[in-house]
Symmetry: C2
Subunit: 481 residues, 2 copies
């Protein structure tokens, strides 16, 4: 496209209903959240996407600190011998590890893994730091990059390198570790539901789906608007698995030397993928106000030359009034027409738009447009500040309610295997059904339906396994990302 032409059209994106997969990547590229890089499977998080991540980080970090955790930083490298100590752990991660073999011109004596996760390196330090029950609990979190070599990648959802936080804690008793595991699961639920406006089901993973090296894994499962589930975060009770191989012991109150109990838990930039797929529409992104880099955009409509100054004066007044009230951007660009700007800010998911032209100035009003409903309203300028606060709050709630209704409508229950197969194939979404707890049944169901057990929710009733008929628990099945 020529430069002139480019200025007249916002980049077009594929319709969701036509090709959801393509819609997803179109939105990411056009909204400038991320871009492909010269390294296969690695993306660049562009300033707009990174500002979103920073807002998410700030909110979650505060919750992690409020629950008594401190941040620290551990090395990027894990010596092969350390990674290999826990048998299930190395088996699970070995196929995905990037190996450093040389430094400068020299070959290293031992290969170094780029951390796919940090249990091993952190465990080796905990063994050194912990000596007495008085040193417990250790409650540490790390914000870091990790690398897992993936065959098939997609921006945010599955990338070779990604950003995340990983909490690693050590406790005196099994009960303390379990309590911490569940506490962090609920911290995540609170964050994902309140700040990201994404409803989640929580529960325990099956043995087959748990983290490599964990005793138990709990997860949060969200429903994307194409009907597929996405694991939004995990919290692991590691038991004494790592403590035993890394020799993390402490002298207990009774004077005895004991192995410690551990947990680990993490969420990643994958959550940005969830945000896009839960809330977005054919016009692009829709960002929940609490984490939107820009909450309100002002687009002045200049009209004739003689009214320009009056409009600009009102814009400055609004700018001053809303500073500190919301994250505000005034779009004064001259090279784009007003309609183009409207489309661009819609594409980028800004929750609220203020339009103001010469006629509005005369009436001392603005037009306020919601991104989620496209509803337009005339607002007197002296009422604008309170109105903005109120509407941003309402958008946050509406997005959650809308996503929750969709999720609930797409959560079905059945006791017939034929119906399960048909629901997964034709309707997608979550299907609640009983499962005996046997891996054989789990694998067979997956092979026949493509659906996996997303999680086993808490306190659910018992019933007959949808495949074999033996007694078991209610679980959520879904096709997943």
């Amino acid at each position: 496209m020529e430069a002139d032409e480019r200025n007249n059209f916002v980049e077009t994106i594929t319709d969701k209903s036509v090709d959801f997969r393509r819609w997803y990547t179109d939105v990411i590229i056009a909204a400038q959240l991320a871009d492909y890089s010269p390294i296969k499977g690695c993306m660049v998080i562009r300033p707009y996407g990174y500002a979103l991540w920073e807002n998410m980080k700030t909110l979650l970090d505060a919750k992690i600190k409020d629950t008594g955790h401190e941040n620290a930083y551990f090395p990027l490298f894990v010596p092969e011998s350390l990674l290999a100590k826990e048998a299930e752990h190395i088996e699970g991660f070995a196929p995905e590890v990037a190996w450093v073999t040389h430094a400068g011109k020299e070959k290293l004596e031992e290969r170094l893994a780029i951390r796919p996760t940090s249990e091993a390196i952190i465990g080796s330090m905990y063994a050194k730091w912990i000596d007495s029950w008085r040193d417990l609990p250790v409650l540490i979190n790390q914000w870091a990059n990790v690398v897992r070599w993936e065959k098939v990648t997609r921006p945010f959802l599955r990338t070779t390198e990604f950003l995340w936080q990983e909490g690693h804690t050590v406790h005196r008793t099994e009960e303390d570790a379990e309590e911490e595991t569940l506490k962090m699961l609920h911290v995540y639920k609170d964050f994902i539901e309140k700040d990201l406006a994404i409803p989640v089901y929580i529960g325990r993973k099956t043995e087959r789906e748990k983290f490599a090296g964990a005793l138990k894994t709990y997860s949060l499962e969200a429903l994307m608007s194409d009907g597929k589930a996405l694991q939004a975060g995990t919290s692991h009770n590691l038991g004494q698995h790592f403590a035993k191989v890394f020799d993390i012991t402490f002298q207990d109150m009774d004077g005895e030397r004991k192995f410690a109990w551990q947990t680990s838990w993490g969420v990643s930039t994958r959550l940005i993928g969830a945000l896009i797929m839960v809330h977005g529409d054919d016009s692009g992104l829709i960002l929940p106000p609490r984490i939107a880099p820009i909450q309100t955009v002002v687009v002045p409509i200049l009209g004739k030359k003689e009214s320009e100054e009056a409009v600009e004066e009102k814009v400055r007044e609004i700018e001053k009034m809303l500073t500190g009230v919301c994250r505000l951007k005034v779009d004064r660009r001259r090279e784009h027409r007003v309609g183009w700007k409207f489309s661009e800010w819609e594409l980028r998911g800004v929750p609220l738009r203020i339009e103001i032209g010469p006629k509005d100035v005369q009436k001392n009003q603005v037009v306020l447009v919601r991104r989620d409903t496209h509803a337009k309203e005339f607002i007197p300028i002296d009422k604008l500040k309170n109105k903005i606060i109120e509407v941003l709050d309402d958008i946050q709630k509406s997005l959650f309610e809308k996503a929750k209704s969709f999720r609930n409508e797409n959560t079905r229950e059945t006791s017939s295997f034929e119906e399960l197969t048909s629901l997964i194939e034709n309707k997608q979404g979550f299907v609640k059904a009983f499962w005996c707890g046997d891996q054989d049944c789990e694998v067979k169901i997956k092979e026949k339906t493509m659906a996996t057990i997303r999680c086993i929710p808490f306190n659910e009733k018992k019933g007959r396994c949808i495949l074999c008929g033996k007694t078991g628990s209610m679980v959520y099945f879904a096709k997943a990302y």
Copy 2:
């Protein structure tokens, strides 16, 4: 040591005057800023050290954003072919690069460097994003980990992996790039002097000392309390070096296609090393209040059983009064004696200590002790809040003034090469002298004195080179870390 004994002594540290090098690492380990890891040359930044880094990051990040920059995130990996594009760049960094050669069991087609710095990977993206003068300037910063394989390492000062921020900007004209380079140099100066209380000389690096691939490098040079200089940060005008090899071009206002002008600039966790070495004393760390993780520690002196409750009640009152006023910690541990606690918080560099015992409660006062001067003062509790604000402010200023006096006293000027040699050998510190600008003289002076040219300050007078007698500029010589 036995557990009981351990509780009676704070870990001892070597005296500064006995062995500065050992004092430095003793402080780091004992204050729990960092610890050695199982990977040679890599350290673990422990929660206390990381909280310090977070405070530094928050203050600097705000300054970077206030000057119009946005954060983003680029991949950890740089394909060998990209890194090799700029000849000087690869020559400078190749000996220090960690190479990823395998992923899982497969050998990669092309080796991937772990970024030692990100000019190459970012340049390749800028070539894609920049098309017109309207896209300029691009003002992006990244907070990231980088890896440089060092033969000799020391915590914070020189580690294989370190944390930093790297700004990478693109401009329309040479003047714009130079203005940005100097602007960021001054942003760093402001941050290092005001927030870290470390005075710095700023100036240009010689051709020999400049960044591999830059047109010009400017640096900030600080003086450690052992008399050695430390480069605290750098700002590079990259000219069109990277633009030409990565093809970063734009259509200018005149319709012509031109190569862009670039800058890059960075500071790292090395600054924590500077903080320790500039302000610390034989009792340990001394942290400037603006970045101290804990600004005031309250140590209750419980006395007899019957007065315990009265003390605790006052402590709660103080805690309430000072919340939001300063970063406060109340040390209620029972397993340590009061004297031990005093020593520990001194070791960890907490700027202010509040002591309160039964007699103080009766008098409605506390004892306030400054970490920097050890000065003790009785303060009535109703005056405590204002006093704390005032004293923290005073400590911040005093630390800077003290460091500045030391730096100034240890900045000497000479026109005799013999004196330069003797000053560097016997007094250390900075020595100002004229230098002709010739690399031969620069190398000879280094060989004979061990001192390097730290920087060429701005607007300095001209004079005769201390070695060859030809006319040149005033420069700062010093032995450096």
